[in-house]
């Protein structure tokens, strides 16, 4: 029940976070001084613009499980990098490197995702933005 409750709380929190901070500076939401590395099992992926969300069950030292959410790239961008429903089905064990949210809640910014086959893929939502095309003059 506690795990379910935590997951629900995290989901509600992430809904708020994703809509409120879709296009704010990285530093408005996340803390570059708090890098994070989490190994967990995929419970859900939301493939949606402007940034998708990856949810993991992460086992804690005391044996309990917390559901964490990670903001990462736009769906098509992720697909071009080889991340889609086929590579990230529920139950997949992955490692995420990124940064914690300043709020201290169970979500963060994913910079990379390492898949079971060992591939590490850069997935940042803002860090890898393509350069703007030349301005028409």
């Amino acid at each position: 029940m506690n795990t379910r409750h935590t997951a629900l709380s995290a989901a509600l929190l992430l809904l708020a976070a994703s809509s409120t901070h879709a296009h704010h500076a990285f530093a408005a939401e996340y803390d570059a001084a708090q890098p994070l590395q989490s190994q967990g099992v995929v419970t859900k992926v939301k493939w949606v613009n402007p940034h998708s969300w990856l949810y993991l069950d992460v086992k804690q030292a005391d044996g309990t499980v917390l559901n964490w959410g990670f903001e990462f790239g736009a769906p098509l961008s992720l697909q071009q990098k080889g991340l889609d429903r086929a590579t990230l089905p529920a139950g997949t064990e992955v490692t995420v490197r990124g940064f914690k949210a300043k709020s201290g809640e169970n979500y963060g910014y994913a910079s990379t995702v390492t898949l079971p086959d060992g591939r590490t893929i850069a997935v940042g939502g803002a860090a890898d933005q393509p350069a703007a095309p030349a301005a028409p003059r």
Partner: protein, 200 residues
């Protein structure tokens, strides 16, 4: 007759000269600030386009969502229309950055511009700002056209282009000196446990 023609010619010449150098005065003075427009029009309209098409993968499988009924498509179209036309509002001369007495959102964060800095950046290169708004307009137009074709893949693609237009403009004018996420370390993965909620 000469007495009349001479001043008239001078007036016409002056008028032509002014027309060539002075931007046209808008028929209506802007009231809302850029920040007001972003909060009230641009952001919720973009959200309406972005949230219209997507998917979710969980233990029960993969589930795609998109508008299905005429009413659902019409609702998304309204968001796209507002977004397309909001670009024109952003280009109206004389619009303040924030309302009197208000502060730019996130201005307390290092590297985020205040209103004066944003205004200076606009003034320093008006063509660059126009190009940034044209990029928004182009992406929003693509979204509107995709909605009219009921092409969900194109809505998703236009949504990504829209996201990139937003990010590029914000990074140039709103938070140009706020550091992006540090480059991730690409070494071998080491399993570690995340910090539990509230433990910091």
């Amino acid at each position: 007759m000469k007495r009349i023609l001479k001043p008239l010619a001078a007036f016409v010449l002056a008028a032509c000269s002014n027309a060539a150098t002075t931007p046209p005065t808008p028929a209506l003075a802007p009231v809302a600030s850029f920040q007001d427009l972003m909060v009230a029009v641009v952001d919720p309209s973009a959200d309406g386009v972005w949230e219209a098409v997507g998917a979710e993968t969980d233990a029960s499988g993969h589930h795609e969502h998109a508008p299905r009924t005429d009413a659902e498509w019409a609702a998304v179209r309204q968001h796209a229309v507002r977004l397309v036309e909001s670009a024109h509002l952003l280009l109206v001369p004389g619009r303040p950055i924030v309302a009197p007495g208000a502060k730019v959102e996130d201005a307390h964060i290092p590297g985020v511009n205040d209103a004066a800095a944003i205004q200076s950046a606009f003034a320093a290169d008006p063509d660059a700002f126009t190009a940034a708004v044209q990029r928004l307009h182009g992406a929003a137009t693509a979204a509107l056209q995709a909605v009219d074709r009921r092409d969900t893949a194109a809505v998703l693609a236009a949504g990504q282009a829209l996201e990139q237009a937003c990010e590029a403009c914000h990074r140039r004018y709103w938070y140009p000196n706020s550091p992006p996420p540090p480059a991730p370390a690409l070494g071998p993965a080491i399993p570690v446990t995340a910090t539990p909620k509230g433990s910091r």
